[in-house]
Symmetry: C2
């Protein structure tokens, strides 16, 4: 008779995929997670209003999300601040959203329409650029031979040189390895945009040189005049992705429709 482990060993541990998915299987919780994909920190009250539910309901949802490890929380006085647990979480969520089917939602105000349009145009995705602008960057870089598609995207020698010319990379990194390229399925266009170290460095560079600026308290990005020049000259990006939306939204964080009026 073989004693193959301890006597009481009649159980084992399995990752509970269903339990994790159940956290995201609710409209309200999913909306909260998508909101937090901006990489920022929100309070419980902000999320409640955003998702259109009572504060008590939001509390319950946040309890579940934090307990499930998707969110990290920080109590400050009477406020509860939450954010995504980490970059892994953000990346998996965005990939999941890219796989998800589409759903028609009603647009109830001009402000909401503008906000949505701005989101589609250019936004942050945790630490890099997403939206039409992000997709256009990835595609232009591919067309120009800076990236090559092979089981994902890969930086070419020309791509490395292009980044170096920009002043990106070479900063402290050994030349013995190549910068990490990763792609992220854009949930607005279902095409790939750049993430990974290169995507993050590019975003940082664009911010520092004011090619793009962040809208306050929002994940929306606006391309500046300097950005139009730079993206046009260096990547030949078409005007569509460089021109701003007709009317920038006055307020952010008003996206999801509540299930019950009032």
């Amino acid at each position: 008779m073989i004693r193959w482990e301890a006597d009481h060993e009649s159980t084992a541990e399995t990752p509970d995929l269903a339990a994790l998915a159940a956290l995201l299987a609710d409209r309200t919780r999913a909306a909260m997670c998508i909101a937090l994909l901006d990489g920022g920190t929100w309070t419980a009250g902000e999320l409640a209003e955003y998702a259109g539910v009572a504060p008590s309901t939001a509390t319950e949802h946040l309890n579940l999300l934090v307990a499930g490890g998707l969110l990290a929380e920080e109590r400050r006085g009477r406020r509860r601040h939450v954010r995504l647990a980490g970059p892994d979480t953000a990346e998996t969520l965005e990939n999941l959203a890219g796989l998800a089917p589409y759903r028609r939602v009603r647009i109830r105000s001009l402000a909401e329409a503008n906000h949505r349009r701005a989101l589609h145009h250019a936004r942050t995705c945790y630490d890099h650029i997403a939206g039409a602008l992000g997709v256009a960057i990835a595609e232009a870089m591919t067309e120009r031979g800076l990236l090559v598609r092979e089981h994902g995207l890969e930086l070419t020698d020309a791509g490395t040189a292009w980044l170096t010319a920009l002043g990106i990379e070479g900063g402290g990194h050994s030349p013995a390895h190549r910068a990490h390229v990763r792609t992220c399925l854009d949930w607005t266009s279902r095409r790939q945009h750049l993430s990974g170290a290169v995507g993050a460095a590019l975003y940082r560079h664009a911010l520092e040189h004011r090619w793009v600026i962040r809208a306050p308290a929002s994940r929306i990005l606006a391309v500046t005049e300097a950005g139009r020049l730079a993206f046009g000259a260096r990547l030949g990006l078409p005007d569509e992705v460089l021109t701003p939306t007709p009317a920038p939204p006055a307020r952010d964080r008003t996206e999801v429709s509540p299930r019950r009026p009032g």
Copy 2:
């Protein structure tokens, strides 16, 4: 007054993350998806038995999974064959499983315990190697300077040379770009293993040279004597990940406990 789009434009499309997650939020459906992570094709009946539900129940679940785009199906006569929709799906699922909390499950037979142990030891993850062996490969390659951690894993020059010495890569690929490295969160050990082009190539190479062999109708891998020599010499892998499990399981596909007996 600005007419900002067509008049009837009072709706928009949003990815329905909650709907997709709802597909995975059920134990039975999640078990089916995890089973399909072996990259193979299963029939409806096989999945029903595996998940411990009635055939009618399995039908309903498969309808949902196919309609939701997670599974692809092929009707052959009276049989219904299903598999994961694609590599993207597989990768996202595996990453999700890596994020999931653990759950204790009862082990009801010695065969099941052996099967589980073998799965933890070495298995395929769609097109590459996972389990303790996969993790050990990634970590040994990192220790030896073949990979470097930077916003993910990255192949170094030494790593490229190492692969070339094995006869991997250089096959048709331009030297102007580096092979694509991607990581996958191992759901049994919560550490990273290699995927992407390099992971797939390594697995193919290991199969061709019979370093590992596949158990029939299973995602389980066994390291051969040749494999022990090769992995030991080339990566210095410790014996633990190279020695086989005490007693290989007689049958596969008997993992998940039914919720109701009989």
